[in-house]
Every structure is written in C-alpha cells, then in structure tokens.
C-alpha cells in the first residue's frame, strides 16, 4: 500500500469541494502477473487542506519557477516516512509551474499538480494523482522485473534488462586495464573520484545494503576481441555483436570471485594500446556510441578511454596519461543506476520531472527500489521454504535439528510480518523484515547438518540384517508350514471319521 497525502491550497478546487476536506479515498488495482499470481496495489489518498506555511511557500513561487525553491521552503518539519508521497494541488492559474505543464515531480517524494475548478474536480484530480503516484512508486514492469527470477520466461523477462538480485550487500570494483604499459603510463585519482562521486550515491543507497568499494590496476590485460579498422574515420571499432566476447578473457584476471561474501560489480576502464588507438564502440546502426561504454546486466560495465592523439606529439614513449575522472564517473554512475534497476519512470503526459539531487538518486527512486526488493525478497524466501518442505517430503532420511527448525519458524514469522507491513504501507520495516526472512530461510536451507545422514541408503541396512535373519528364518518358516499342513489334515480326519 502506498500512502499518499494530498494537500489542497486555497484556490485549487471549488469552494464546496473544499468543505468536504479532510477525508480519505482508497484506490485499489490488481496487477495480474502469471499463473494466477496477482499483486494488489493500493493507493490510499488522504486529502487535507494546506497549512499556512505551505500556502505561503506555494504561492510565493518564482515566476519561471521550476518549483525547486518553493519546495525547499516546504521543508516539512517531520521527515516523510519511506514509501509515502505528498502531492500538492495548486490553483489552475498559478505561475509556479510553466504554462503548459500540468504537474511536476520533485526529488524528495513531493509532487505538484494543477487543480481545476470543475464540479468533478476531485475525480479528475484523483486520476491525475494516481498517475503521478504510479510513476513515483510501483508499476507492472517494476514488479515484473523484480520477480523475473521466480516467473517462467515470457515476454516480461526476456527483453527487460534484469536488475541485480537482491542481496545483503554488494562489492563494487573499479579496474583500470592498461594493455600497453610501454606506450601509456596511466594514472587515475580513483580515491578522490570515489570519495566525491560514488560515495554520496552509495550513502543514499545505504538502506538497500552494505557497499564496499575497491579498485585495482591491471597491466597486459587484453580484450578478447580484435578490433577492426575503419578506413573512413581511420579508427578502430568494436562491433556490437562482438561485445559479448570481450568480457570472458578479462574476467579471470579480475579476481572478483576470490574472497567476497557479496556479489561483485565490476567497472572496467580500458585504455586501448597504441596499435589500436583510437577505439570506438559501434551500435547496430554503425554509428559510434557517444559515451564509448557498455554494460552487462548483473555483471558491471566497461568504458573505453581513448588517449588524445595530441599527447603523442614530440614526447617519447611511455606517454603519461592523466584520466579525466569526471567523464568516467558520469558513465559509471549511470551504469550503476541501470544495474540496480533504477530506470526512467513512466511519467504521465505533460509532467515535468525535476533534475536529480547531487547524489544522483531521488528519494522516491530509492523507494521504488525498496518496494521491488521487498517483493523479491518475499518471493525468494517463500520459494526457499517451499523447496525445503518438498525436499523433506521426498527424502525422509534428513534430520532437522532444533536450530534449523527455529530458523524456519523465524523465516515464516518474518515473511508474515513483511507482508503485513507492506499492506499497511510501512516500507522501511517491511524491507528489513523481508531481508531477515531471506537470511533465515537461506540459513535453514543450506545448513550443513541436513546432509549428515543423507547417505545411509536403505539397501545397506538390508545387506546387514538379511544374512543374519534369513538362515534363521528359513527353518522356522518351514516348520510353520508343516504345522499348518498337519493341523489341516487333523481337521479333515475327524470329519471323515464322523
């Protein structure tokens, strides 16, 4: 459930409508997914009148107003809870928004919508608000992408770029690949760049997990593909179809899977060798890509940094190259957003989307991520527990210890709590509960003590007892048969006689 607070200013709707404030409207929608699975999405709108300081802030917006200054003045004293939205309805002729824009979505869980003086004002405005709320929180594709692992392949998952699987933390590695140290002496100030650009972004995302960042420089690391020469622009290019083959030979030298609990995201910066400079990536139309970079879902991204040809004039090899970290970090942060699944929201028409904050992440984008993650976590936890139950049904030999049982109980309780919290709209506690559910269920499922007695097959027990009991049993059985036959004979005899 998404709680939405709708605040009406003085001239936004007709007066008699304003008399009806405050009240609450609930708008529910069912999103069908697949195989009779549905997700119910509820938007609870609480309408109220604007308070005085809000009126002031909204009416004093600057004429060409992007609305940002007004919003800064609207700084609510209390922090909005995660997952909730606040929509301000202003008058139809207000100059806060540019003339042709009907609404505006701000970076901090607020939005501004033009009101209308009409009899059906609430209905019309209600629909607009629902559109905006959907853009800012949950839509079908977000949920489908989150559940992509648990749904069978179909049109939803195959061409959606899959975001990263939900995990407790991530390790981000920045690598500089220099295949030709004889020609290029490359230096990059990665520490400063991470501190200035990456760390604020990760701090904003810190609710979603623990992040750790490291970096390395690799020499003599070649890409697996030979670039082709394009005589028209006298440069080398990498075809879009050869891009999948680039990563594999480099992967073994990255050392990414060596020692980390969490999934690893690799960002590589490749400085092509002198013989293959400059190097561009071509998309399917044959035009060079603007940023000269590409990314692979669930793995990371690669950017090619061409050394300026002016640097070669007059100096002997190796040429000192100082990497422009701003250009590089722009690309890497954009790729990081894509890898996490923070994609462009589907905005309603005539809506102005504000620019993001300096960290690179708007607050409601984080909320969307948390909604998707909670749903994914719940699905994973339920799948794990169901598989464990099915396994126990099939193999009766497994011994479940007490602590494994308590983990299972804890997982079930966490799943229920997470579902309740999601239904009541408390996003933060729902996310925490869902993470706990996943951890407990995995701990119960992968416990090594489950395998202890697995290899004690039944035929070994037979092999031990049969040589002992069979020779003993045979004479007993034979004499039982004999007794039975004699008794039957003795029954027949008196009959015959009598």
């Amino acid at each position: 459930m998404v709680p939405v607070t709708v605040v009406f200013t003085r001239e936004s709707v007709p007066l008699d409508d304003q008399e009806k404030l405050p009240f609450t409207v609930v708008h529910e929608r069912e999103i069908p997914l697949k195989y009779k699975m549905k997700i119910k999405c509820r938007f609870q709108k609480a309408y109220r009148r604007a308070l005085d300081h809000e009126e002031e802030a909204l009416s004093s917006g600057i004429v060409q107003g992007t609305g940002r200054e007004a919003e800064a003045m609207l700084a609510e004293p209390q922090e909005q809870a995660e997952g909730s939205l606040t929509v301000y309805v202003i008058s139809e002729h207000s100059s806060l928004l540019p003339q042709d824009m009907m609404s505006y979505i701000g970076p901090k869980r607020t939005a501004v919508v033009r009101g209308i003086m009409h009899r059906e004002a609430f209905n019309i405005i209600g629909r607009r608000i629902v559109q905006i709320a959907q853009a800012m929180s949950l839509t079908e594709d977000v949920l489908a992408a989150a559940l992509a692992d648990h749904l069978p392949e179909d049109k939803w998952s195959s061409d959606k770029r899959r975001p990263l699987k939900s995990s407790l933390g991530y390790e981000i590695t920045f690598s500089l690949l220099n295949p030709d140290p004889r020609s290029h002496d490359v230096h990059w100030d990665i520490e400063g760049a991470v501190r200035r650009y990456v760390q604020p972004f990760l701090n904003a995302l810190s609710v979603a997990g623990n992040f750790s960042v490291d970096s390395q420089i690799l020499y003599y690391a070649m890409l697996g593909v030979n670039p082709r020469f394009d005589p028209a622009s006298s440069s080398y290019y990498l075809d879009m179809h050869s891009l999948p083959h680039v990563i594999n030979p480099v992967e073994s030298r990255l050392g990414s899977s060596a020692a980390s609990l969490y999934p690893v995201l690799n960002f590589l910066l490749y400085v092509p060798e002198l013989a293959h400079s400059p190097l561009y990536i071509q998309d399917k139309d044959g035009a060079p890509v603007a940023t000269n970079a590409f990314h692979s879902p669930r793995w990371g991204g690669i950017m090619i940094y061409n050394v300026d040809s002016k640097a070669y004039n007059g100096s002997e090899l190796p040429v000192r190259v100082e990497v422009d970290m701003v250009r590089v970090m722009e690309v890497f942060l954009a790729q990081l957003r894509l890898l996490f699944g923070i994609a462009q929201p589907h905005v309603p028409p005539k809506c102005l989307l504000s620019g993001p904050k300096s960290e690179g992440l708007m607050t409601w984008e984080l909320d969307r991520l948390l909604w998707a993650r909670s749903v994914e976590n719940l699905a994973t936890a339920t799948t794990t527990l169901t598989s464990l139950a099915q396994l126990l049904g099939k193999i009766s030999n497994i011994v479940i210890k007490d602590d494994v049982a308590s983990e299972v109980y804890r997982a079930v309780a966490a799943v229920q709590k997470a579902a309740e919290e999601l239904a009541s709209g408390h996003l933060a506690s729902a996310f925490v509960a869902s993470q706990e559910a996943v951890t407990s269920s995995e701990r119960a499922f992968f416990d090594p003590s489950l395998l202890h007695l697995l290899y004690f097959p039944d035929d070994q027990k037979f092999a031990i007892y049969i040589p002992l009991f069979l020779p003993m049993a045979v004479p007993i059985l034979l004499s039982l048969v004999k007794i039975f036959l004699e008794t039957r004979k003795s029954w027949k005899k008196p009959e015959k006689v009598d």
Binding site: D189, A293, D324, V326, G355, G360, P475
Partner: protein, 476 residues
C-alpha cells in the same frame, strides 16, 4: 547488453568541488631479480625475487598485536602448478615482460628442488620509522639437475633451463637484473665461461662469505638492443672438480626411531660446524596430537654431556583440538653435534578419522630452526635501496652474523591401523555360525520321524551293484 543510455538526465555530477586536485599519487615500485648459481656438481640453482612496495597507508582495522605468532603447516601438500598460477597473478607484468617471462610451469616443476614463498611485511620508510610502507616479496627457487634436465651435459643456458629467453624488461619495474654467482671462477676464465661477458660485477658478503656476482641489467638498453634477446650461457671449460660443497655452519636432521606400532622416539640432530664459535638456536616443534609426547623423556645432549636449554616453552596437545607446541633456545657448542630426543606413544584414532589410505602413514610437520649464525667475514650494514634483493630478505643490523631459518624434513609415521574389512568379516562369520548351529539344533528338535519302506530300486543302489559286479563281490 546494450550501449550506455543517453546521459541527459543524469549529468549531475559536476557539482563536485572544482577541478581534480593533482595530488601526487603514492609511489609504488617493483624490483625484480634472478640469481643463477652454478653448483660444483654440475647442477644449477636459480632464484627469482620480486619485490613490490606500496607507499600508501593501507588501512589496518584495529591494531593487531604483533607479538602473537600464528603458525600453520600442511606437511602432506605438494606445491604444483595450481600454486604457481595465482602466485604469478600477483606480479604486474605477469608472463608478458621482464623476468616473469621465464616462469613456465612445465620447466619449473621438472626440477629436483622447488620452493615458492610470499612475504608481506611493513617496512619503515626512514630511520625514525615515522611512516611505513608495505612490502610484498615473492621468491621462487629451483635447482635444475644436470642429468634430468640437462641430459647429462653440464652446459647451461637460459633457454635450456626455462625454454625461454629474456626479451624486454618490464616497463613497470624500476630495477630488473640478473646475477650470476662466479665466486670461485672469477679469477681464471678457464673453468667457467659466462656468455655474454658481463659489464659489471658486484661483490658483497652474503651469508657470511664473500661472493662475487656478474651483473646483467635488463633496463640497460645496450644489453638487449644488440641481439634482441638475452640468453645467458654458462660453459664449463674444464669439467667441474667434484669437490665436496662447503658445509654450512648450521644444518639439521630429524628422524623417528623405535619399532612396533606403540612407541617411538623422535630425534633431531643439530650440527654446528663452526670451528670456534658457539651460538644459540631457537627450535620450534609442532607435533600432532596423535603422537603423545612424553615430555619427561626430553633429553638434549651435546658432545656426550647434557645440555640444558636456556628457555623452554611447552604447550601440551588436546585431543583433536590442538597439537603439541615445543619451543626451546639451545646453545650449540662449537664444532659439535647436539641431539634432541623425545619419546612418544602412538594413539588409536576413531575409525572415521582415518584417511582413505591409512597405511601410507601420517605426516609430522618439520621443525623450524632460527639462528643468528656468526659469519666468517664481517659485512657492511645493508642499504635497502642499493643492495640487491637477495641481500635484504633478512637484514641484520651488525655484520658479524647473519640470520638463517632452516626447516628439517617432514616425517612419515605409521599409526596403529585397524583392519577395515572386519565388520564385513564379523557379519559373515556370525551369520554362518548362527545359521549352521541354530539351524541344525532346531531341525533336530523339531524333526518328526516316519518309518519308511525299504525301496527296491533306486539309482544309487543300481550304481553300487554295477561297481560290485565289476569287483566280483556279491550284489546288495
């Protein structure tokens, strides 16, 4: 997979402060070295050393106490290509340039001795040690056998040893050198000839004796430009005299004695061959828990008399948790043999704790000897930057002694091994006995007897009559 998205929406990062501050990044340096030592038996020993030094402060989360030593050993494991590959990955120019080009696994493991090591330690940057840098040293030593690798010929070259030659130096290395030990052969060029002739030589006191080395610097352009590659050749003009190699001042042996599978005795012999100097030796023994040591039988004798160690630390073993730890500081008198012996009893393990091949035996890890051995010739104090790497692995502050760490051989000890086929035997025997005895008793007890008419015919009787007729005996 796709190309990157247009950045119109996300260009926001220019809010960072100003332009990039060009702080000089911390200096990392790499030095590499190869030392080739021809041995009088015709074999040749080669030692690689790579040193990477970082000047940046690596974060240390919480200061660990440096006085705690953690010692772990796997005596059964043999070093092979799986260990060489990740070791090579730590080198920046791995296998592509510089001295690491020579590290080919199929030649390096075709040797009579192979040893690899990785050392990481903090080093002080100046004499007052106000800042530290971290040093990673990788060493690899091999001894090529004249008969196995050399096929009987005693002429050596880089190509013969490693199947590669040196082509270019590593662009990241600040120093890249090859040293050839020509101590005994430098005066006359008639025993050993080194090709191409060295331009410089280096003399220093290494491990207590004065040695001379021929130096080839790969970073020197004249060295490689002439012939495009460097293939050092060692040719013996006269066959090397089979003189016995110089006995080192400290060496040790270890063995297990005794008979049967119940008791035994573990003995370590320490030899001090210095003619007039006695020096102390620190002996560290880690014996697994299934050899139960009797510490009251620990005896140390030198030259027939009892030798009391100046320091003993003993930590007894706990079954299945912790091995014995015995550490002693023993003073070795000059020109003597010291015997350290201790008796033990072999324990019987639980049947699930035996390895799949228990009759091979169980390994006992080697003991470690550390000593400051007095040197024949006084050495100058070591300068970190100028000295070659092989001199700075264990530097000492005063030149009158040098540090040595020796490992004795690992031992193979047989433990009383049960017969693992016994459960099967027991089942078979018991079942047979029960079946036969019980079955017969039961039959006897419950058999009912009928009177039977004698049968006139029958195959057996006819056969018997046939035989009687043949014998001439009246039929039945």
């Amino acid at each position: 997979m796709a190309a990157a998205m247009p950045l119109a929406l996300v260009v926001l990062l220019l809010l960072g402060p100003g332009g990039p501050a060009l702080a000089e990044p911390p200096r990392d340096s790499l030095r590499e070295e190869l030392v080739i030592t021809p041995l009088p038996s015709g074999d040749v020993a080669a030692t690689f050393q790579f040193r990477t030094r970082w000047d940046s402060e690596l974060q240390r989360k919480g200061d660990t106490d440096h006085y705690f030593l953690r010692y772990a050993v796997l005596p059964r494991e043999v070093v092979c290509t799986e260990n060489l590959t990740p070791w090579k990955k730590l080198l920046p120019c791995s296998s592509k340039a510089g001295l690491s080009v020579l590290l080919k696994a199929d030649r390096l493991f075709h040797t009579s001795y192979h040893s690899q090591a990785v050392h990481i330690r903090p080093v002080c940057r100046n004499t007052r040690c106000t800042s530290i840098s971290w040093e990673l040293r990788q060493t690899l030593s091999v001894v090529f056998d004249a008969f196995i690798t050399g096929q009987g010929k005693k002429d050596w070259s880089l190509f013969r040893m490693f199947s590669r030659t040196l082509t270019e130096p590593c662009p990241l290395a600040s120093e890249s050198r090859v040293y050839v030990d020509i101590t005994n052969y430098s005066q006359d060029n008639e025993t050993l000839e080194v090709n191409p002739p060295p331009t410089t030589t280096y003399q220093d006191v290494i491990l207590g004796t004065r040695r001379t080395y021929a130096v080839y610097d790969l970073l020197d352009r004249a060295m490689i430009n002439n012939s495009r590659n460097l293939n050092l050749q060692l040719k013996w003009k006269k066959p090397p005299e089979n003189e016995a190699p110089l006995v080192p001042f400290l060496h040790a042996q270890r063995y297990v004695s005794g008979y049967g599978l119940q008791k035994g005795e573990l003995s370590t012999l320490l030899y001090n061959t210095h003619p007039y100097r006695a020096f102390p030796v620190l002996l560290l023994d880690s014996v697994p828990w299934y050899l139960r040591l009797y510490v009251h039988t620990l005896t140390i004798t030198s030259k027939g008399k009892e030798n009391k160690p100046s320091y003993i630390h003993y930590q007894p073993a706990q079954d299945r948790l912790q091995p014995h730890l015995l550490e002693m500081l023993i003073q070795l008198p000059a020109n003597s043999v010291t015997k350290v012996s201790i008796q033990f009893e072999r324990a019987l393990l639980k049947w699930t704790e035996y390895t799949p091949d228990p009759n091979h035996g169980f390994y006992v890890s080697p003991s470690v000897l550390s000593a400051l051995v007095p040197s024949m010739v006084a050495a100058k104090p070591v300068d970190w930057e100028e000295s070659p790497l092989f001199n700075t692995l264990f530097p000492v502050s005063d030149g009158s002694s040098y540090f040595v760490r020796l490992y004795t051989e690992p031992l193979l000890v047989n433990l009383p091994t049960p017969d693992f086929s016994m459960p099967y035997n027991v089942i078979c025997l018991t079942c047979t006995v029960v079946a036969v005895c019980y079955g017969s008793f039961y039959n006897l007890l419950t058999r009912t007897f009928h009177i039977e008419e004698p049968s006139t015919g029958g195959l057996a009787k006819r056969l018997a009559n046939l035989i009687r007729r043949a014998r001439g005996v009246p039929p039945l």
